[in-house]
């Protein structure tokens, strides 16, 4: 078996899916099933009541049978993120928290200083923190020092679909922390980009917009599932090394002499 181990929970799927922006609740449900995801992300927002409120949505999500990864999306301060995490722990009955402390509204770049501080507080309190971070090696080390046992570096700004904007940085993270589960979170736009992350040895991919905003979200979810599986298999198979010059694949030995 090639299970993914996240805080002691073993999972066979390596594609985590967000639940926002789908054209309908039914589409969300079908997309999660097509993606074969075992973890879905959710948020906490003010209860408005009625059919667009949180209760019908929660009922739908419970029916998916997935593990819930609540987020602190939209939090700009350590205090807001920690309070939201406390509320999420009670509401979803899970120690898991996708920790977001946003530092810039245009790029949704994490405030990495606040992120480390919030992670330290939550880890001490028994949370199992999934920090949404940049690809910065130093920050990654600080997050691990704070108690995180999973890291979720971005590929590109949330919702941008720009793909792996700095493959070198992502490769460096992978090489530096070979035993830490690394999940590329945010910025993936295409299945080929997800496959590329997995081919680098990333353990999983978390995405939302690329599926939810596709013309056919259910088909795109299936495409991402296939790409993540292919990328994982490629990593396990051991990709060949690159070289600058050609190397004939057909044997030179035994080549006919025509003169």
């Amino acid at each position: 078996m090639d299970d993914l181990d996240l805080y002691g929970r073993r999972l066979s799927s390596r594609l985590l899916l967000g639940t926002a922006q789908y054209p309908s609740p039914a589409c969300l449900e079908h997309a999660v099933r097509a993606a074969r995801s075992e973890i879905v992300t959710v948020s906490l927002r003010r209860e408005s009541g009625g059919p667009s409120g949180g209760q019908p949505f929660w009922k739908l999500v419970q029916g998916l049978g997935c593990r819930i990864l609540p987020n602190t999306a939209g939090c700009h301060t350590v205090k807001d993120a920690v309070t939201t995490a406390h509320m999420a722990r009670e509401l979803f009955d899970t120690p898991w928290i996708k920790l977001e402390v946003i530092g810039d509204d245009d790029t949704l770049r994490p405030d990495v200083f606040g992120l480390v501080e919030a992670a330290r507080i939550l880890c001490v309190e028994g949370f199992e923190v999934f920090p949404y971070t940049t690809d910065d090696l130093g920050v990654a080390g600080r997050l691990l020092d704070a108690g995180c046992r999973v890291l979720m570096p971005w590929a590109a700004p949330i919702g941008s679909g720009r793909g792996l904007t700095d493959p070198y940085a992502l490769r460096t993270l992978r090489a530096h922390f070979p035993d830490v589960p690394l999940i590329v979170d945010a910025g993936i736009g295409l299945p080929s980009q997800a496959a590329a992350a997995m081919e680098m040895g990333y353990d999983a991919v978390l995405l939302n917009t690329a599926v939810a905003r596709a013309g056919d979200p259910v088909r795109m979810a299936a495409a991402f599932a296939a790409a993540v599986g292919a990328g994982r298999s490629a990593w396990l198979a051991g990709p060949m090394g690159e070289r600058d010059m050609a190397s004939p694949s057909t044997p030179v030995m035994g080549l006919a002499q025509w003169t």
Binding site: V42, S43, R46, W58, P70, N71, A73, K79
Partner: protein, 64 residues
């Protein structure tokens, strides 16, 4: 006396549990905070609300 519930001014309620009952959310999947501090479900009954308090009532919602 006025309290603010999810940013909206509302008539005062004696405590957090009474407020949720008035909102028909007693048994709902919601989490609560008063003045920026999380209030666990078990503390709602004994959490008195004072004039000007800001209450957040949050529910599961779509998220990435």
């Amino acid at each position: 006396m006025t309290i603010f519930v999810n940013g909206e001014a509302q008539a005062h309620a004696a405590n957090l549990a009474a407020l949720l009952e008035r909102m028909a959310l007693s048994g709902a999947a919601v989490a609560t905070a008063v003045n920026g501090c999380f209030v666990p479900r078990s503390q709602r009954e004994r959490t008195r609300l004072d004039d000007g308090d800001h209450v957040e009532v949050l529910a599961p919602m779509q998220g990435g």
